[in-house]
């Protein structure tokens, strides 16, 4: 099922089977180049597969943008321990809804990507960690996994080639923090989703302290097309240092919100005006978040000339993130937006380390006061100060994710905070005339 009509400007590589009748079924998949890349990988050496992924310039699609080939290369393949593949489908970054569309429309693409990764590192088992809210996707995946077992693409002696691989789904239970890779592994081991101290990284000591390849759904889903097209051709779809296409979720004040597959380096103005059908009601864009609410906020003027890729966004002081684009028009109350974003991080902070647990709580209190119009000028400074003191001082990126958008909103939209204080300012009589008022 498609939630939004596709745009003619899309380059459909990962989403090419979307919209086909019965697109989630293995027969549809097999009739449309399905599992061809995996068959190809059976004749390739592990080094050759990893090299192809390195050549593709594929970078992690979950948000961090770490080069995938390099990540796979860190996995000690000669280790005597079992190796695991873990798929991060705990998609919870506000503004992001792409993995859901991928799994719903083409679950076998993910399974094939996982199989190739398993070939590359010699893994025999894999887990797909799906967030609890996506229960229907677990049913879709379980059905697809069952089909793959029945056709001999999973299980013992796959396609008679002496390769074994088992794949399972695993449900989360509602915790944003479990999208962080080490917290996800803790959760997969049946514990509270609190991050581990890194290093060692999951590639070396991941699930059950064994070497683990852990990537986002979209990252695995990109791998079959990389092997089929060749890494270099896939890289050429994007920009230097960031290859391929990216599923982009347009959310907020645009006419055609939806998930679109756009090549990396796609211009922001074309994305909003042509793919997104322009700003809702023809309003001006006040603020722009490129990839989920953890990214620093840009003003509309800053965002218009940019392109959607990792380096251009980093240069502009923000991140490409997960591809969850949040667009806010001129009528948006930025104080309220800042409060809602902080409300989320305060709720989702796992509470393990103090700068995040206390920082998010105090910033939320201050922002609530400012939003209610009873804050003071000092509160504005304090919010910025607290946010800057959280940065880089937490075990996992959740602290940064909370601090970055807040610090940028306070810096770039300070006048809105001040206006809110002024609009509700109460005139207090001078103490000399009224001795009962304590100021």
């Amino acid at each position: 099922m498609l939630f939004n009509p596709p745009s003619p400007l899309e380059i459909k590589v990962l989403t090419k089977r979307f919209g086909l009748p019965n697109s989630a079924h293995i027969d549809t998949y097999l009739a449309n180049d399905g599992y061809q890349a995996f068959v190809k990988s059976l004749d390739m050496t592990q080094d050759a597969i990893i090299q192809e992924v390195k050549d593709s310039n594929l970078r992690g699609r979950g948000g961090a943008g770490f080069p995938t080939g390099m990540k796979w290369g860190f996995c000690p393949r000669n280790s005597p321990k079992p190796k695991y593949i873990v798929v991060n489908s705990d998609e919870s970054e506000p503004g992001t809804c792409k993995d859901r569309v991928l799994i719903e429309n083409d679950p076998h693409l993910l399974i094939e990507g996982v199989l190739i990764a398993a070939q590359a590192v010699g893994a025999k088992a894999g887990y797909i960690y799906v967030r609890g809210e996506y229960r229907y996707l677990i049913d879709i995946l379980d059905k697809a996994i069952g089909e793959a077992y029945a056709k001999g693409y999973l299980g013992k002696n796959i396609l008679g080639r002496g390769v074994d691989f088992d794949l399972y789904t695993h449900t989360g239970a509602g915790a944003y923090e479990c999208g962080e890779e080490s917290a996800l592994l803790e959760s997969l081991e049946g514990k509270r989703g609190q991050p581990r101290i890194r290093p060692p990284f999951p590639a070396v000591a991941g699930l059950y302290q064994c070497p683990t390849v852990l990537n986002n759904v979209e990252t695995f889903a990109a791998v079959p097309s990389i092997l089929q097209m060749g890494g270099k051709a896939w890289a050429d779809l994007g920009v230097p240092k960031a290859g391929g296409t990216k599923l982009t979720c347009l959310t907020g004040h645009v006419n055609k919100t939806g998930v679109y597959e756009l090549p990396l380096g796609f211009p922001v103005d074309k994305m909003i005006n042509e793919v997104g059908g322009g700003m809702r009601s023809g309003k001006k864009m006040k603020a722009f978040i490129p990839g989920g609410s953890s990214c620093p906020v840009l003003t509309g003027d800053e965002a218009w000339p940019l392109t959607m890729d990792y380096d251009a966004m980093a240069k502009a002081g923000t991140m490409l993130g997960s591809g969850g684009v949040i667009i806010m028009d001129e009528d948006t109350d930025m104080v309220k937006a800042a409060l809602r974003i902080m409300h989320f991080y305060q709720h989702e902070s796992c509470g393990w380390c103090i700068p995040c647990r206390e920082g998010t709580t105090w910033i939320k209190k201050l922002l609530t006061r400012l939003n209610n119009g009873i804050g003071t000028g000092k509160d504005i400074d304090l919010v910025g100060d607290l946010a800057n003191n959280m940065l880089g001082r937490t075990f996992c990126p959740l602290g940064d994710a909370a601090a970055l958008p807040t610090a940028s909103i306070v810096k770039k939209f300070r006048h809105e905070f001040e206006a809110k204080i002024k609009s509700t300012m109460v005139a207090i009589p001078a103490a000399a005339n009224n001795p009962f008022v304590v100021v």
Partner: protein
């Protein structure tokens, strides 16, 4: 405690999904699946799950308190979840939630006296491009307006009289 045969089969398959000696991995899925049948994570359920996995009940409890979809108190038969996170907020989800409170006469995490419907203001549920979004148990509803919300609720209420 025993569960329905379908759930027992599901749990059997679940436990066997993990390597030998790693049964604890089944904890969170087992709690989620059994909660769906029992209604909430009761003390008996905590003990039962602990027994099946072979860990002390306190280790189950510490997990239950961490995850927001595990409830110690029963929610309604239909748990109505309204997302008010940023992408939904930009499509007036705060007003939709307020409307939901008035329509149902319930607040955050409250259950109707007949136990049919409960309401919760939730964080991002992954429907950002089709905001504002509402989830009833595990079913998604997209582009929900006040009128559409009323229709959803009326349909739920009808199931009771049938």
């Amino acid at each position: 405690m025993t569960f329905s045969p379908q759930l027992e089969a599901k749990l059997e398959k679940l436990i066997n999904s993990y390597p030998a000696g790693r049964r604890k991995s089944a904890l969170i899925p087992m709690l989620m699946f059994t909660q769906d049948e029992v209604g909430s994570v009761t003390p008996e359920l905590v003990n039962e799950v602990a027994k099946r996995i072979g860990i002390p009940p306190v280790q189950v409890d510490e997990v239950v308190t961490y995850y927001s979809m595990l409830h110690k108190k029963p929610m309604g038969k239909y748990h109505v979840q309204v997302c008010t996170n940023i992408s939904c907020l930009l499509w007036d989800a705060d007003k939709l939630y307020e409307h939901a409170c008035h329509k149902l006469g319930l607040g955050h995490k409250e259950v109707s006296p007949d136990g049919l419907i409960s309401l919760e203001e939730v964080e991002c549920m992954g429907a950002c491009s089709w905001a504002p979004a509402v989830q009833v148990n595990y079913d998604f509803h997209h582009h929900v307006t006040a009128e559409k919300f009323d229709e959803i609720i009326e349909a739920l209420k009808k199931t009771k009289t049938q």
